[in-house]
């Protein structure tokens, strides 16, 4: 094979670039359709408190299927609420509903076409093969290039992956309609359209529904992957848990997905199976069912009106994206609250680092405050060189070292040996093997400290610190900043003249190109946003104490009007 290598990769890259350049308005149009739809579903499902919404959904399920499924829905969804995963589930549901809707709207006409014409089928089906076998990961990144970060590319990716069964089964359903029944339509002089509407579609209905069922299942299976590009929801919970190696947490989120999947599966399967006979049976069952249907219908319409909140003034909307690290959660939420105080609607998109950068670079997100430079985020920063604006540092210099309460009167590590007795000869560490423990071991050697480094856990250390702090006893612990303990206690780092402990990076704020012109006020606030590790630590502390990030940010802003004023003036 000494042929010159086909530059497939280059072609694709060029194509992507070309599409990005010339099809931007088209993609914007698509975004403009998908995004509001997803939002609508999300709002619709959150117009009522979870319990009521679940009861409503249960009734709806009951209406469309059988009692057992409704019961499962009720219990399953309550269980999800119990696990605290309801709002994530709602996001996931909204995403799945949007993808399914889109798949149906596009897929059924295509399927009908392929069901009627052998030629269309011959052309279409290989494309479907490609759509189903090409790993979603491959088109995830282009999707971000083309569409804003967040639900839109997720929906697009889901549709690509999940639509084929709807097309295939619609085509199959049409082809499976008994020849004799098609002949009936012909023989009575039906037009092609009449045949389709009066004979073929009604008879293919259950097969088509089976296709939609598969589409729903497949788009559910994309939930985790699409949360990699900021789709949020349960997939995000799974990814977070997994990246922290919390198997149990991941399992909980997975279980929620399974519950939703089973509910959606059973309901659509049942709809496919329902024959006229059942419907007749049902209608004979009594009018209460019709009443119920009417009532649910009314409620839904009402909720829809409520949920159909016209999409706000675009000038007043801001999208921030972030990665789920403690520090970024704190800073992003504070920025969000500050902007909201200025009258903006702020949307937060939690994602992976790559898409976060891609989002801002593509202009689909306005900014992020999570660029760890110069090291951690270097590859992304380089990749998108020139496609974003660096608004400078918002937090400076993280710290590692040995920490003591302020009331401890020594200042440097070198002073420790002299006070060994007061410290009981112990440095309280955290989990063995962690970076700071290693540095500390090195410090013991380098400074010749005659101390024992007690390995344990973060929690154990905090407990020791708390106890000592209450009693004003001397204690030395391993510590790092930003961390909430610096806000809860008065602590200080011991000087480290031998520079054993490393000093960290700065966190930068990154905005998209054009933000300055389009939303100068937002730009200014982001540009001015600057705080200290102590500030951040306060917010983290609040979160650590159980507040939601929103609450924590809210409170912190209330407590620091002067800082906020600096940013916003």
């Amino acid at each position: 094979m000494n042929l010159p290598r086909l530059p497939v990769a280059e072609w694709v890259d060029a194509l992507v670039k070309w599409l990005q350049t010339y099809f931007a308005p088209f993609f914007a149009l698509i975004s403009g359709i998908i995004e509001p739809t997803t939002r609508f579903f999300e709002r619709l499902l959150t117009t009522l408190p979870p319990i009521y919404m679940i009861i409503l959904l249960t009734l709806l399920v009951w209406l469309f299927s059988r009692f057992r499924i409704a019961l499962f829905t009720l219990l399953g969804f309550l269980f999800i609420v119990h696990l605290g995963l309801w709002s994530a589930s709602v996001e996931t549901l909204a995403l799945v509903l949007t993808s399914t809707l889109l798949s149906v709207i596009i897929g059924i006409p295509l399927g009908l076409w392929a069901g009627r014409s052998e030629r269309v089928k011959k052309i279409l089906f290989p494309v479907l093969d490609l759509m189903q076998t090409m790993p979603a990961f491959v088109y995830l990144i282009p999707a971000v290039f083309f569409f804003a970060l967040g639900p839109v590319p997720a929906v697009i990716a889901s549709v690509i992956f999940a639509m084929p069964p709807t097309i295939r089964m619609t085509s199959l359903g049409l082809r499976q309609v008994a020849e004799e029944l098609k002949e009936v339509a012909h023989a009575f002089g039906a037009t092609s359209w009449q045949r389709l509407m009066k004979v073929e579609i009604p008879l293919a209905k259950s097969t088509i529904l089976a296709g939609i069922n598969q589409t729903i299942m497949l788009s559910l299976s994309m939930v985790v992957i699409s949360s990699m590009i900021g789709a949020g929801g349960l997939g995000n919970k799974v990814l977070n848990a997994i990246s922290r190696l919390q198997v149990g947490k991941g399992f909980e989120a997975g279980l929620a997905i399974v519950i939703i999947a089973i509910v959606l599966d059973r309901v659509t399967q049942n709809m496919g199976k329902v024959t006229k006979k059942d419907e007749r049976h049902a209608s004979r069952l009594g009018r209460w069912r019709n009443w119920l249907a009417g009532a649910i219908g009314l409620v839904l319409v009402g909720l829809s009106v409520l949920a159909y909140n016209p999409i706000g003034d675009n000038d007043k909307q801001v999208k921030l994206t972030y990665v789920n690290w403690d520090s970024e959660v704190a800073s992003t939420h504070v920025v969000k609250k500050v902007l909201e105080k200025q009258g903006y609607q702020v949307e937060l998109i939690e994602t992976e680092a790559g898409p976060m950068w891609a989002g801002v670079a593509s202009g689909s997100a306005d900014a992020h405050v999570a660029a760890w430079l110069p090291a951690t985020s270097k590859s992304y920063a380089d990749r998108y060189k020139g496609q974003y604006e660096d608004l400078g540092v918002n937090l400076r210099d993280t710290y590692l070292g040995l920490v003591v309460p302020k009331y401890v009167s020594i200042q440097s590590i070198e002073d420790l040996n002299a006070n060994k007795g007061r410290f009981e000869g112990k440095i309280i560490g955290i989990e063995p093997g962690s970076g700071i423990m290693q540095s500390t071991e090195k410090a013991l050697k380098e400074y010749g400290l005659d101390f024992q480094l007690v390995a344990g856990s973060d929690k154990a250390m905090t407990a020791s610190l708390d106890k000592a702090y209450q009693q004003k006893k001397w204690i030395v612990i391993t510590g790092w900043e930003p961390h909430w303990k610096f806000n809860k206690y008065e602590l200080k780092f011991l000087k480290d003249p031998k520079k054993i402990y490393s000093t960290g990076e700065n966190i930068h704020t990154i905005a998209r190109k054009g933000l300055k012109e389009e939303k100068p006020e937002v730009y200014r606030i982001l540009d001015r946003f600057y705080w200290t590790k102590k500030d951040m630590g306060e917010v983290m502390l609040k979160i650590q104490e159980g507040k939601t990030p929103d609450q924590a940010a809210e409170e912190w802003i209330r407590e620091h009007p002067e800082k906020v004023k600096q940013w916003t003036q």
């Binding site: 008994a178 004799e180 029944l181 002949e183 009936v184 339509a185 012909h186 023989a187 009575f188 002089g189 039906a190 037009t191 009449q194 009066k198 004979v199 009604p202 008879l203 209905k205 024959t275 006229k276 006979k277 007749r280």
Partner: protein
Amino acid sequence: MANPIVVKNLTKIFGKGSKKALKLLDQGKSKREILEETGATVGVNRANFAVESGEIFVIMGLSGSGKSTLLRMLNRLIEPTAGQVLIDGEDLVSMSAEKLREVRRKKISMVFQKFALLPHRSVLSNVEFGLEVQGIPSEERKQKALKALSLVGLENWAESYPDQLSGGMQQRVGLARALANDPEILLMDEAFSALDPLIRKDMQDELLDLQQNMHKTIIFITHDLDEALRIGDRIALMRDGEIVQIGTPEEILRNPANEYVERFVEDVNRVKVLTAEAVMQKGESIVLGKDGPRVALKIMRDKGIPTLVLMDRHRHFKGMISAEQAKKAVEAGLSLEDVMEDEIIQIEKNTPLQEILNQMAQMDSTYPAVVLDENKRVLGIVGRGAILDALAGQGGDEG
């Protein structure tokens, strides 16, 4: 009235190479040879016939003989390869799609073997289908459909669904659907084949009843000879796509065109199928009041016949007389009226033999039955011997 359906050289060849196959057909090759040579299947091979208005025209033959194909070309559900189908003189084959749809909507309806009801529609709405397709407003539609349903006696089942009905009832719905838009022509493809024997008989009766009132032109397919004979005014027998013979049931029974038809026909219950007309003999007669017993006796002796029909001057039937009785009258000097037997089995041209036999068995007389027209004029006589001869597959002489 002209023939509502005339079929000329109608041919269907399935598969590729139909051109070549057509040529081979013309060279007289058989279906099998053509299949081997070209891979094309001959569905129907140059069918020619004309159906009369108000007639039930039955097409029969074994499985695969091309019955369905032929029928479906009559409303162009299957596109003919060659030939013409003239519906009221217009050629269906060359008709525009628009025109064809109009014909299908107004003139030709079809009843299907497996009923082909739409399972998602109620009975009424199934019957409405043809009207709905024409865009007839819903009220009128409903009325017409209900009328059609009441024709088949299902007006009380309008709101049911097909799967709630028995097979026979379902096929009645199929019939009602076909009748709803009041077509001239009904195409029925093995309409009763899926039914149980007893129900099937009921449906046949019902079809004949309906036909009495409606006078549709019906093309009826079956592979059951009994059924064909029972309901068909004329029967076309198909084999390997060709029409082997066309004729009335009796013609086919009496003169099977070839061994194939003969085999088909050999098991038929002739007593049910054959009618008086088929077996009646002229029957010598004399006019009462004109001729006396002596003349009667002479005629009987001369012609060597045992009985004589007596009628009045208007050829109205009066009675019969045997040689014995005539002799008695001559001997006793009685008139023919005095000795003649007037308790004679009187039948019509189309009375089936079974009926005649039953009556003969009841009467237990040795006189033949007499065949009269609607004005009681004598057409001929049916003796036991003639019946037995007919049952033996020999047929009687035409009267």
